[in-house]
Amino acid sequence: MSLATLDLDLEVFHGPFDLLLTLVLREEVDLLEVDLAEVVLAYVEHLERAGELDLEAATEFLVLIAALLELKSRLMLPQEEDEGLDLEPREAAEELLARMLEYHRYKAAAEHLHERLAAEHGHRYRSAPLPPELRRISIEAAEAAYDPELLARAIGDLLRIPPPLDLTHVRRPAVSVDQRLRHLRDLLATRNRFSFDDAVKGADRLTEAVTLFALLELYKAGEAKWEQEVPFGPITVVPTQ
């Protein structure tokens, strides 16, 4: 299944993936307006319809979509944050270009190898043991050249059974969303409004994350909302009236 057969139906573009790529590079389609997640979803559906994973096509897709994502994420960053980036836009484009060119080179070289192998089709080489009288000669002249231990070692390698995945180090989360939901509802009931920092005082990162998730649940359920005046500033949670 080749990428050429991946048809996309996006808001800003309708047609094969290859064409989208060309249009993006020609800037006839604005990458900022292309929903790349949609492209990925379309590809996954495409795979499901095909019923099998074609690793080669998947490889190609991943390289291309990764390049597009990288480019788009750089495009999306606000101007004033440029100083904070490791790479200036020019450097970023150069780096991306270098990677695309390097991959392009070996992809074309692979094509060359395909052609070479095809051109060699029909040239078979003889592979036959020596005639008995000559076999004798080489046995007589043979001297020990290999260490027999390499055979025993190879048997040892072949006896190795891969261990089952060890999952003991993966702890079950010590906190559940239910627990944190209860905690937030208690705070809402007793204090009416409170800061998120207070809600997670002394908690570890996992608990903080689960608490944030619980807060989103409360918002979804219409029980609470929050205020944040500046980015990265304190978050104040208040009940929905």
């Binding site: 003889r126 036959a128 043991p129 000669i137 290999y146 027999p148 025993a152 190879a154 059974i161």
Partner: protein
């Protein structure tokens, strides 16, 4: 030489063993009469005394063989068998054959968890292993050769080192063959 004679020449060149007129006819998709005619043409080209390779009719069919003119040079060429380092695949195949012989190619593949055509072919070419009849399912069986013993400095097969020193799980029950097959199947998942 016409195309059929060329084809017959190529088939004789490729095959390590004599081929019958019947098999040649079957491979080339022509009648046996046409093969006989092509062989007559070939014989002109391979007249003894003119070439380094000669066409021979032996029990079982036709074969190409070297002319005695080259014997001295062949002995010199082959005097020291080439012993490039073994790749991991070759070492594994050779280990399986040496400890389990006779062993079939499908068995080697099951133990290694991958097809092993190329490695087995190289070991055959280098004379480290050879065919040793057929299993009851018709698969070719392999065993190690005398050359193998000399190149590994072994006085005999019973001088093969005990693999238990490298056994990752010596507590496991069972014969070596059975354990290797089991491990191979688990690796293949």
């Amino acid at each position: 030489m016409n195309d059929l004679a060329r084809t017959v020449e190529a088939l004789l060149f490729l095959s390590a063993e004599p081929i019958s007129v019947e098999r040649l006819a079957d491979a080339a998709e022509v009648s046996e009469g046409e093969i006989v005619e092509a062989l007559a043409r070939l014989r002109e080209h391979y007249a003894e005394g003119y070439r380094g390779v000669v066409l021979r009719e032996v029990a079982g069919g036709f074969t190409l063989a070297t002319d005695p003119v080259a014997e001295r040079a062949a002995r010199r060429l082959l005097a020291r068998p080439r012993t490039p380092p073994l790749t991991q695949a070759q070492a594994e195949c050779l280990a399986i054959v040496s400890y389990l012989q006779p062993v079939s190619r499908p068995e080697i593949a099951r133990i290694r968890g991958v097809a092993s055509e190329s490695a087995v072919g190289t070991l055959l070419e280098r004379g480290l292993i050879e065919e040793s009849g057929r299993s009851r399912f018709g698969a070719t069986l392999y065993r190690t050769t005398e050359l193998f013993e000399k190149l590994f400095g072994l006085s005999g097969l019973d001088a093969l080192p005990d693999p238990s020193a490298f056994d990752p799980s010596p507590q496991e029950e069972g014969e070596l063959r059975e354990r290797l097959l089991r491990a191979g199947e688990q690796r293949a998942g």
